[in-house]
Point group: C2
Chain length 452, copies 2
Amino acid sequence: MITCSLDPKSRVTLCDQLFEALRAEIGAGGIKPGERMPSKRQLAQHLSISTATVEAAYGRLTSEGWCESRPRSGMYVCERLPGAKAVAQKEETPVRWDFSTGAADAAHFPYATWARLMREVLSEQSASLLLSGDPQGAPALREEIAGMMRRLRGVDVPPSCIVLGAGTEVLVSALVALIGRDRLFAVEDPGYSRVRRILVASGARIAPIPLSDGAIDVRALYTSGAGAAYVTPSHQFPTGVEMTAQQRGALLRWARETGGVILEDDYDSEFRFHGVGAPALRALSDGEPVVYMNTFARTLAPGLRLSFMALPPELVPRYRAMHAACSVPGFEQETLRKFIAGGYLERHIARMAVVYRGRLAAIERGAAELGLGEVAPCGAGLHALLTVGGKTPAQELAPRAAKAGVRLTRLCDYGVMQMERGGERIVLLGFAGMDEAEIADGLAALRRAWMA
Amino acid sequence: MITCSLDPKSRVTLCDQLFEALRAEIGAGGIKPGERMPSKRQLAQHLSISTATVEAAYGRLTSEGWCESRPRSGMYVCERLPGAKAVAQKEETPVRWDFSTGAADAAHFPYATWARLMREVLSEQSASLLLSGDPQGAPALREEIAGMMRRLRGVDVPPSCIVLGAGTEVLVSALVALIGRDRLFAVEDPGYSRVRRILVASGARIAPIPLSDGAIDVRALYTSGAGAAYVTPSHQFPTGVEMTAQQRGALLRWARETGGVILEDDYDSEFRFHGVGAPALRALSDGEPVVYMNTFARTLAPGLRLSFMALPPELVPRYRAMHAACSVPGFEQETLRKFIAGGYLERHIARMAVVYRGRLAAIERGAAELGLGEVAPCGAGLHALLTVGGKTPAQELAPRAAKAGVRLTRLCDYGVMQMERGGERIVLLGFAGMDEAEIADGLAALRRAWMA
């Protein structure tokens, strides 16, 4: 049975809250195409709401193509979900300006250096790179990653705790197996929908926990009964808020008192525009189990498929028992090792921080000059939040932008149960994939789309 | 609760069958360290066997370090499992001759060609290779893989059904999510223990199905209630037996009648020493859902992390909805595309088939000359089965070999419930990792270890 915490005090109706929760569950594969939905009466009883509310939510699921009612049998998830249609439609309008948060910068990739190092690796013809190697990744590379974490983030972990993997999907699904499907996985709401989907696909049960002052609500975490919590402390996704020292302390206390495991996704922490940044939870932990996760998708390129995590020492033997091989090719591992050891990674990050600072300024400047609305202060990370002014209805913001060739998302697209107050008018402007001139053009296109 | 089919007619005692099943379950992570085992009475009732049998099996689990009894609380899985100790011990004796089936040949890898193609890829500086790309892998590469499957295996699948992944682990765990954890996954017994472990770690419930005439027993498959079956038809692992046309027909009929999904692992099918080989199940299927799986770990090198599968068309949209990115780096994808398109892969396979045929002959010759025992006819694949003669007790074969610097496994190491008749004296001799001279030396070392 679907479990979700509906908030009767929210300005979003219970019906809409339930609709969003069920749609998210279906989209994530928690209820599969062709599967029967719980009966209205059962679900109403289970969630302590009225049957009329469930009926209204089911009605909206039907009218939007997520479910279908079969006579004398009940409600079923459609075999073809609207997601597939949406993708097809999207391709009709070519995207000229991509403000989506998944975009990446290929133009600044240090191709010459990377290619030179990979040529070196190939010419060394090391036989060991052709074999399966260590399931956590080559020890020499893990040494370099440990050094990098120490220098960039002040996190001190032994290389023996580090695990390399071919992207976030691979690592998160390994974590679900490692930590155990018997635990409930808490996720931030609103939060990173991609990881939410991977958790569900990997067989984890998830509990969306609302934010309180920008960070996961630790009181709600206690009552949820979760045994693990996926969080983005350095730059909450999607709100961009950084977790305070006090909030970090409270979260670690939760882990200590309940034995819960913290999954700390430190994505984008390398790009910081104001202030120093709080230490990572992993650096603050005093024996509480914190899995530190990060990726080279943003600091280098997503197509390299390079991510890593630092496990609590006690989970390492189990990880090694479960995995016979590392998912990253030997040639790439050795190229990355040379790249970090040669100091190229840190130089590249420093260079890109300047580039990204310029782009963020272009967004702030452009939005003000064009009167698009207000840009929230952005301390770190590669997307800004714009509260759109003017009179375009909130639900029209993304479709009108799409028609003008601009791809973007709204803050409310990332919520399961919780709709941020006013979140319907806040759009995310990712600036990893465009230069300053393109950003200016993209903002001008948005002005035409929204303010004309 | 653990479900396993005990065979009262087997020559292996029920106690030993149950011990092996529980040990496999613990080793695979199905019951975790620190977890409580079911009570003796519950388990006996559940499996319809006597409490005394369960008690004896639990006694053996305790004495061999898998479980511990806690006063007034019951039986618990040990926090530190014997597997970890075994690994530590193994490293004490250096391995000079590696007959394990996971070994690979790095010496014959076409380094010059691969390096030249990868340099080409790097010098083209394609920005698209740096981005996430298609979640199934680049369409142009999938075209080449489809062509290769047609030419080498007579399997005709559209490129749109092909999925590339960073190794078997990644693909199998994606398949469990795709097919659904509500289905029971049948596996061959004896069978490929690594895939069994990945299935369990991915949250699948498994049902070990005995072999009948060398192939999965389809009658047992019907009664098991399985909704998916992982099989190795071209070269059953570990017995090496090829599935007959009649057995293939029966298996496809099972899929048709029950809606079960067949996972066909076609590993090692490229290396064939006698006869033509039966067509793949996927080629024979007439709408029955068959997932065809294969890897470049054997035809090229395991360190490249290149595997692929061909999904039934109806599963493709769901796969795409679940995955945002392919786990294989863009540079490697493009290098592999050039490698197949240039005809290098098929030339390399043809060359290696000659090399491997010579090694198999060296095993057959050496075993006969040294009087080690009888080598079973080997039609395909990269390991031979030797029934060891002489008087060394069966359980001493592997330890004595290890002391002499030889790594190998016994057929009975791969069984969950089923011990092949005489399987205790059959050892697997993988010949992928050694040349003919090394094989001869390794066999001489075995003679000294076993026959002295």
